[in-house]
Subunit: 469 residues, 4 copies
């Protein structure tokens, strides 16, 4: 429930399957939670690329079967993009597709480059023009200027220049390239279906299309698929991976395997640890649906306090809700959530959410629960206080807007009007999630909690990331 | 997850509020689960009625603020209508609005009239013409022919003729009438907001607009609201009420108060009773989301087996999903649900659902859970076998299609490939739900389980209700 | 209340052709000039009727091929409806389709019934309800109440009751009926295509689908087509036909044969006669395009003054033109017409139009021509002053708004700022057009010029016809 | 790859008017005949550019008033683009808008660059990437790389590199630049409205917004408008202008002043000359509407044979016409034109058209006229045989498809089945049109007739220009 700054996204790719664009559509469907603003697919028929992109949900943008006739060919990549307030321009919808010296290329990007503006400035000084406001466009510019002979070498050449978080999928007429930044901030998994290779941000996309999960693409690994098969390259020096802990806390789907563990189990473990750290004498544990459910189950199990669905979510909430104009009422959170009075009335209630950003939504929910008759409300957050913005692809507001960056837990407790408030400790979080799977020497990036940023970025004035582009 | 025959619907009405059409919109929004096919609002400005109706979700049909400018006036009624396979014609969208001798009248109907075809035949013999295929249209025809002087008397005159299930809301230029059939099959509640009276199918509509819940409109009660205030009439002789048990089992929202009890608690009680009747040695209890969640919580509490979310639902599933054409795969249930392997693998799993209709969906889900590694699957249904079609407004298929009407529990168990299958007994169901609230001498209609139909209907050949109209 | 009394429309029908709905679409396409507000087609597959109707142009309402798959069957009727300010409700779009005792029936109507409100009042007193504000709906009500055994007899029974102007096409599951009122106000022609019978408002619809023109359906004639073939009935006593002269003046397409003559030639003759009646010494004759072109050619031929296109029409003018908001300018006629300065500058210009209604448009056009440098402007109208409203299906404003009803020709000349103004005389008009073809004893209805109404209507206060219903 | 080499287009620009985007909309409306495929407007509010572009007609793309709120600011440019079969991608819709070192810039282009592919190759070799298939994109690339200090100097620097036909309008945050290639192939006119400068492809755009026509922008002239006022630059050496004769023959609107003369008069003169060159004994002269009308009037005047409208055009023909599928009939030209039998039957008919491209349409029209009863058909073309493709911005097919490039007039006459066929001679055409106005030493480009191309282009195999890119 954030108002977003940076782009959260999901990517998908498939090479060598007769239903490439249809399967990409299904893959994007399963990744829809990673981006609801816009989406697109680019396919290759071996000699030409074909694109369809638009603003809106996957099911709306790809409404007509005729679209899939145009998206012909055995290879395709796709992208879903998160909704950002105001930025409703179709020009930023990915995959980006361009013509350059060596033909056509399309790219889909999940993540955020920290030196994109610097590179863009240099490119513009040399006469480049930019059609979008996306950091992804610098990658295609660099790729067009790369001098190496082979596509893998050119991609590698470019990736020595850009820094930050990226899980990238490229499609040319004859090849698919998937690459993950050396820190491995964002997830990217590899699978097979009927002999074709598939890649996706999360394994839930494989489940839907019934592809076999093979493994994660490793941090710093680039795979290149063509009709000869797949090749793997490691194109960076030794970097200790730092995958993003927030995928486990909030962003990924609970049925996905991310960084070696299924998200559902990790979230439950967060809840259990939270129960150990912030026990309370209470009658009922309720989640803020849907993201708080697994942690609430974990908290309930560990504490022995019964789990109940105390808030019902309206699943028909769309993007175009019109509020009564003349009214002084503001419906906000009520349009999404409604309390079950019977569960709450007269009870001491533990409420589980995954995080608190500005505090305004939490405050409204607590007031709603209080109005439904709760005797006590104990807010429990299944992650530490979010005090620092993310520069690696999670959409957090500026530092100034993050309530934890300037307020103590007790102050926040007073603001949101809970009786008590407890955040999972950083130690508890780390213990619950363990080491990132398959990444030796790695640990999770927790910059949003710790302020320790594993990849440096140009010195910015405090909280000025809004003006990054 | 039914393919529907009859119409399930939701109704809303408000009289005497400056934001009548806007609040109707919000009310329909909260009642969206009762009908996603189409919706409409008719408002009155005191001298004329204004209508806006369309196919689709409330948020899509009422997309432009300009619509609300046209829906002027302090009174309004609204309707949401369930999706039925094929019947995509806008002509059946309610409220129905017509001109007749005494002016204009609009009506919104939830329920099903059992003698509509007989009446329609007679009306047609007398020269009436019908513009829709809806049973509701006979009501307006009868109303136009009614000879009584006052509107309440005319409505009463009509309701002596029609038989079946109906919660009706009428709007004329200057009055709102709400009435519930003497059996009280379908719910209808009364509330107040800023001095205005409001009526709705479920109390969750009141929660959203912050209206105060006053009481249910009683079975057989007609209320008439005009600028003088509200009057209540009892226009039928003594009838023992028989409200629909299926509202509690599946149809109503868990946060609504229906027939005197909050639905969430009733469903949990079904789950508890089910655990007592069909205990099993197992590792985990998982619901089929979303409808099975409260019963699964109840089952888990009573049995002591841990509750987990073993199936994740994709909330972006829309109505326009395009399946890959050439593919031999059928995505069906996979597009909606995905198992959490970690929760299921190697486990003895209790799966809770509210009902089994044809058995095909249950079979697919069980195969999916089995493929995710479940060691044993014990299906538990929080209602008795659904062996008889409903003629009172719940959309069930014909008897022939109801697997319980022709198969034993053991045969169904084999068909859906579960290890064991247990249905809640009729006695257990009755004990769990108790007497319908506020209705002396009443009991719940359970015709879909028992075949005992409290209101008779014209003799039909077995399973021919499809041809009712 | 009828939104508008006077609907201008076009109708089409075809019986017994495998491409019935597609050909109806083409027929409506050719008749588009008779109505741009909305359109619809109803087809019959022999046992059921299928409908598609919508607001907008034919090419927009019938955009998807899938529509034609649904409009299956070898018979179909269609309707185009005139655009009226404000009445943008889809409910009035025809063909009207209803169910009644004997099955389904659809009707498309061009014309206007003068006693529709009286009949409606009686029907409502007897308990009928009305779903539309169209006078056509009384016909289906009467048809449903008709007691005769055969469809032709029932239609005949109904048509003894209604009075006014109607060219009607009915479609049932197995029959097509086409009938013209005994006065024959509106045109209706009969043709054949590949053995199928076709009917249409104008012969230009036959030209497009390459149907053979057979003859006009006669005033008072009813034809019934079923699989046995076509039968013709004359269901009225002797009435002297009075077809509408305004079809020749303005409404019909110049390439159509209407009432026995091709419209183009009649219009040219009006222009010739006008030149004889109102000669003037001038340099150039220009039409107001497109309707004034044939008359202007005739005027030029007769007078010897050269014909030129002095005003160019913008053919992209749509219905959704947005004017600059803040501007004090009003674009009105400029958006449609632009003068050719070279043709006009320094010239004495004869401007030919078919009629003057309110005078406001003529005034704007004359000012525009004057601004382009005309030395003199001589307005010539190819019909007499329009002083009386039409009650038979041409859309005229109330008497009060008709400038000719309250102003002399000289006053109008001053108002529209022309140098001279001349209207074709009623005698000249009659001489130019001759007797209506194939209608013995008949003469053209010229009520809009003469005030002599051949079919009486309920006594109305002067100019109150807008409030007729 | 360019979808299409030869884009016909219209451009508009306005600087310093509070209703800039609204007036641009009106201007594009008047220029709609120059391009119906897509359109767009970019406005500047002084610090930022705002864009709205889309596929479709101006009235459809700019449907909502809200669009104009977003297109804020006192300056704007606009573009309409010609419809080409297949190339329905929104990415080519102009104005192109990009960010580069010095800010944002938008450009609208009418014309065609003959060395675009060469430049594009070089740019791609240097690492540039292209987002569109339009030749216009090379201009913005070059502009981004230009090193001069001032915008006028940079534009000038770019225009020394590109060759071909261009009327260009640029918009930056603070300036509008309009420039015409030194040959002046395409028109571009300058006007004033309420103190603001306006530019447009044709003067008819000024007529609609009531701007004052000042003069043509001269071949080779660049004007720069900012808040200081307007400056004019001549940035090329001496070139003899060669404006396009085809604007007079077919492309421009007859009410526009183009290259110093009103088009209507020129076309009439073509018709007069044609009558002198190819007299024939006949009964009637009819135009192919609408483009043939002025020439036909001229032919009629000169020959003394009466002018008639023998073919009626259906003005509702849209782009989405659906032909009956199963039918063997092809409607093609019939959907647009219908003969007036009375005018044609038994007559010797002279038919006037502006040109013959492939001959297939002429053949269909002549067959239609013959079927309407013409005794003789004498086809007269108001321009010489079109034997050579245009490389300067008129959309002609390849040489192979131009019937005149490989067939004699007599062969064409036989193919199109006319009795006689006469083309205006090149000498007659030149005599009729005279010298291009205001361009000393200039003459019209008639490469499409003569094969003499005033601006050289890369050597191409005959007829391969479609494959130029």
């Amino acid at each position: 429930m954030f108002d977003k700054l940076h782009e959260e996204c999901g990517v998908f790719g498939i090479f060598g399957h007769p239903e490439a664009s249809n399967l990409s559509y299904l893959g994007l469907y399963a990744l829809q939670h990673r981006g609801q603003e816009g989406c697109g697919i680019v396919s290759s028929d071996g000699t030409r690329l074909h694109a369809h992109r638009g603003m809106g949900l996957v099911a709306d943008v790809f409404r007509d079967e005729e679209i899939f006739n145009r998206l012909s060919g055995p290879s395709a990549i796709g992208h879903v993009r998160y909704s950002t307030a105001g930025g409703k321009d179709v020009k930023n919808v990915q995959p980006i597709m361009v013509d350059y010296l060596r033909g056509s290329i399309a790219v889909a990007h999940n993540g955020n480059l920290v030196n994109a503006q610097e590179i863009r400035n240099e490119l513009e000084l040399a006469g480049s023009i930019f059609s979008t406001t996306s950091d992804t466009e610098v990658i295609v510019h660099l790729l067009a200027k790369a001098q190496s002979d082979s596509l893998p070498d050119r991609v590698s050449e470019v990736l020595q220049v850009v820094r930050g978080a990226y899980s990238l999928v490229f499609l040319t007429e004859t090849r698919l390239v998937a690459v993950r930044d050396p820190n491995g901030f964002r997830p990217l998994v590899l699978g097979r279906l009927d002999g074709a290779y598939v890649v996706a941000s999360e394994s839930c996309a494989f489940d839907l299309i019934e592809a076999e999960f093979i493994r994660e693409i490793e941090p710093g690994e680039m795979i290149v698929v063509d009709k000869e098969g797949m090749k793997s390259y490691h194109i960076f020096g030794k970097v200790n991976p730092t995958p993003c802990i927030f995928e486990h806390i909030y962003f990924a789907r609970p049925d996905s395997i991310v960084f070696g563990r299924q998200v559902y189990g990790v979230r439950k473990e967060f809840g259990r640890m939270l129960a150990r750290e912030y026990a309370v004498d209470a009658d009922v544990v309720i989640p803020i649906p849907d993201s708080g459910v697994p942690s609430a189950i974990g908290y309930a199990e560990e504490s022995g306090i019964p789990f109940q669905l105390g808030l019902i979510r309206n699943h028909y909430v769309g993007r175009t809700f019109i509020e009564p104009q003349q009214s002084i009422r503001h419906f906000g959170v009520k349009i999404k959530l409604n309390p079950v009075r019977e569960v709450i009335e007269g009870k001491r209630v533990v409420v589980i959410d995954d995080s608190i950003v500005r505090g305004t939504t939490a405050r409204k929910i607590i007031k709603m629960i209080r109005a439904a008759g709760a005797k006590e409300i104990h807010m429990r957050i299944s992650s530490p206080p979010t005090s620092f913005p993310c520069y690696y692809g999670i959409d957090t507001p500026t530092r100034k807007e993050l309530i934890s960056s300037s307020h103590t837990v007790e102050e926040i407790n007073r603001y949101i009007t809970s009786d008590t408030l407890g955040y999972l400790s950083r130690e508890g979080m780390r213990a619950a999630v363990g080491q990132p799977g398959g990444t030796k020497g790695g640990h999770f990036c927790d910059a949003c909690f710790s302020g320790f940023y594993p990849v440096k970025f140009p010195r910015l004035k405090a909280d000025s990331q809004l003006g990054l582009f």
